[in-house]
């Protein structure tokens, strides 16, 4: 179960980022309680940073919510991707699972080669990063001043690196490689032209050419239902 150890590594990086969020939000005048409630209830890092930034600059609720929710929009696609893995659970459990549907949990769960390990990886990673994110937020909000600059520690490079390791299993199939290449180029090409958050959402459309590719005569049937079919 390497996902347990790997989750804690991701969790540690999330915790450091949580500290810097706590410092930022507290510094923006939110106070410790509001800062911690944000992390407990929103639990979407990029959205929280964006919301606090806009609100601190004097933005209205509308101006705060729009950019923040756009950065969270990719979670819809993650929810769809997680549906085969946790979507058969009882409704109450799915409603709890939903709060944990973010980049890290989706990446860790879908990276598991053993389909039976995917739900466990989702829940373990979700619990780990939820714990670290909120503990970090509390520490940052209480300390008030940064314990260290996350950028000086290279934390912003830790997340894409983790996703590189976790996306590797997806790139073993030809359709996966097409989806990845088209998705990356699409997102990067859109960045200068659309609001932040949208490029990654639109990249989901890369599954269409990838799917067409998987229907080509030579590679088609080998990918049908494998390795994604649930037990």
């Amino acid at each position: 179960m390497t996902y347990r150890r790997d989750s804690l590594v991701l969790g540690a990086a999330v915790g450091v980022l949580g500290v810097s969020f706590g410092v930022l939000a507290e510094g923006a005048g939110l106070g410790v309680l509001k800062t911690c409630v944000l992390s407990l209830t929103v639990f979407t890092g990029a959205s929280q940073f964006a919301a606090v930034g806009v609100a601190d600059a004097g933005g209205s609720i509308g101006a705060t919510l729009g950019p923040a929710l756009l950065l969270a929009a990719r979670n819809v696609a993650y929810g769809v991707a997680m549906a085969p893995i946790v979507g058969r659970s009882p409704l109450a459990r799915r409603l709890v699972a939903a709060q944990l549907v973010v980049d890290e949990t989706t990446a860790m769960a879908t990276a598991q080669r053993d389909p039976g390990a995917r739900a466990g990886a989702f829940w373990f990673t979700g619990a780990a990063i939820y714990g670290f994110w909120n503990a970090g937020t509390l520490i940052g909000a209480l300390a008030g001043t940064s314990l260290g600059d996350p950028e000086a520690l290279g934390i912003d490079a830790a997340f894409p690196a983790g996703f590189v390791a976790l996306v590797a299993p997806h790139l073993r199939s030809a359709p996966g490689r097409v989806a990845g290449a088209v998705g990356a180029v699409t997102a990067l090409g859109l960045v200068p032209f659309v609001a932040p958050g949208l490029p990654v959402v639109v990249a989901a459309a890369a599954v269409v050419p990838a799917r067409l590719f998987s229907e080509s005569p030579r590679s088609g049937e080998a990918h049908e239902g494998d390795p994604v079919t649930p037990p």
């Binding site: 209830t41 929103v42 929810g79 991707a81 997680m82 979507g87 939903a98 996703f163 998705g183 960045v191």
Partner: protein, 101 residues
Amino acid sequence: MTWLAIAALAGGAYLLKVLGLVSLGPRSLMGRPLVVVALLPAALLPALIVVQTFTVERSLRLDARAVGLAVACVAAWRKAPFALVVIAAAASTAATRALAA
């Protein structure tokens, strides 16, 4: 931020997360649609990686993060343990920044 704004943000963020998870019924989780669903992380994660590495807001930017990404790619390709991939990327980005400063 008011409590109302916090509640609206929390509600909106949760709605987005729950939408995908409950909108697909068990029937749509079989056969061909499942193949498309399984390709979603393959499309989204590389997009997220390049956006997190090569952009600042709405501009493209090549900086120390690219060093970390290159190190991560080599480490992952050599099948290094997950922790090593992450730590090597962060350390190389941090070192590049320290040297450039």
